[in-house]
Amino acid sequence: MKGLLYKDGYLTWKYGKSILLFTLIWMVMMVWTDSLFWGIFPFLFAVMNTRMTFSYDEQTKWNSFLVTMPVSRKQMAEEKYLLVFLNIAAIAVLEIMIGLAAALFSKEVWLTADTLLILGTGIGAAFLYSAIELPMIFRLGVERSRIWLFGMTILVFALVGGGAAITQSAFLSESGMVQNEGAFYTAIVSVLAVGIAAYVISLFISARIMESKEF
């Protein structure tokens, strides 16, 4: 699996550089406009970046060759899930670092309720979206799943983003202070938990799809 991760890591990095730039721009937009919307977007791109590796694979019919190598079909699925996980983690770390830098610059506390809300909902949405996306791509391929995924991308991120905005207005004061800590943190943890649980279940589904697939 290490070899596959190296290949996909390299291909992801090709476009990852531009994502870094966009993440920076969106974070500036988020601070400037005081809207969570911008902070959640980089997670969407982290997920889409992984989809591009599927496109490259399909272009060269890579899987029909990979299946001849000492890699199990289950590992073929697991590698993509690990790649998504690493992409999401990278964006989370990046957002924390940017948040930290912004806090240092403005001499404010960096780990605010706002930051937690963005990270929680962004990561949760990314896992939830990937949980639906990955089995569809494994089953249908990138092209055939594209139309479904386009609609779903907007739906998942709008739902989670909208939920985050509601949470922000319901539980946070204008100064960013949490008004009802219990409900606020429960909302964040719930989104994360649902996303991660769906992601783990999805991995088993994808592994089964790959086990029965012919190339």
């Binding site: 699996m1 290490k2 070899g3 596959l4 991760l5 190296y6 290949k7 390299y10 291909l11 090709k14 490259y56 694979d57 272009q59 060269t60 019919k61 890579w62 029909s64 060759f65 990979l66 299946v67 001849t68 190598m69 000492p70 890699v71 199990s72 012919e214 190339f215």
Partner: protein, 287 residues
């Protein structure tokens, strides 16, 4: 499965819409080279897919290097199998250097030194992206990779297509070299029958999803001969002796089994390509 066979297909059937590979029985003894021949759509690539585990048979059993290829154990056995498909399947955005790093993480026995030597031998650049390689360069690259992880079995599906005759000859020599180790075996499918004629110990002929024969090449060439004759002479022949024929304004050319025609007949030697063409076209004429 015996330990003496690198490959065994026992009564293998695979059905697709509009095509069926039927009851294939095939054995490749370890240390031998077998050529898989047949026209387009005969089932060569399907057979390769079944062997590598990319597709699964509807019926029958396939053993590769002594292991049933439907078992989990087969994943480890794939360390000992080198595969070259009809086109290079590596990402165009990778360089050979990057593929080397990738393969190190995939194959237990990946031999970087060997890989670099093959790249040099084939005159392939290390830092150029594969998208800038010609088809021939890509095929050579695939062969270099297949030979760089101490494989005991090579499965080559049209691996020499796209190569010029000089490069093909060079590759054929490398395959020869590979089978010097007595437990090294090759199954190669190709349209270029002349390559197979040079290289192979056994020839398996697939036609419309059926295995017509799988025999030693030399025995095959001894078995068949071409008889040039008139129509009247053709009609007097034992039908059992005729494997195929062609008619022309000047008479007939008939692929016959030497043992089944009178020894007084003068027969020309039949090459593997002749045998294949006569059998396929002869059948069509008779129908």
């Amino acid at each position: 499965m015996t330990g003496e066979n690198a490959l065994e297909l026992n009564n293998v059937t695979k059905k697709y819409e509009g095509f069926c590979l039927q009851n294939i029985d095939l054995k490749l003894p370890a240390g031998c080279i077998m050529g898989l021949i047949g026209e387009n759509g005969a089932g060569k690539s399907t057979t390769m897919k079944l062997l590598t585990g990319a597709a699964r048979p509807d019926e029958g059993q396939i053993c590769v290097l002594g292991v049933d290829n439907r078992t989990r154990e087969f994943d480890a056995v794939k360390n000992q199998i080198g595969v070259v498909l009809d086109e290079a399947r590596y990402s165009d955005y990778l360089t050979p250097k990057q593929v080397n790093r990738m393969m190190k993480g995939i194959y237990e026995n990946w031999d970087e030194k060997q890989f670099v030597e093959y790249l040099k031998k084939f005159d392939l650049p290390v830092d150029k992206k594969l998208k800038d390689f010609s088809r021939g360069m890509k095929m050579k690259f695939g062969i270099a990779a297949a030979l760089s992880h101490e494989a005991k079995l090579l499965l080559l599906d049209e691996a020499t297509s796209g190569l010029d005759p000089v490069a093909r000859d060079e590759i054929v020599d490398i395959f020869y070299e590979f089978t010097r180790e007595e437990d090294h075996s090759i199954l190669i499918s190709s349209h270029i029958v002349s390559d197979l004629e040079k290289l192979c110990d056994y020839i398996a002929f697939l036609h419309k999803g059926k295995l017509y024969f799988c025999e030693e090449k030399d025995a095959l060439k001894e078995k068949y001969g071409i008889l040039s004759c008139t129509k009247e002479m053709f009609e007097s022949l034992d039908r059992e002796a005729v494997a195929g024929y062609r008619t022309s304004p000047y008479g007939m050319e008939v692929l016959v089994e030497r043992e089944k025609v009178p020894s007084s007949f003068s027969l020309s030697p039949a090459g593997i390509e002749d045998i294949m063409v006569y059998m396929v076209r002869g059948e069509q004429t008779q129908a």
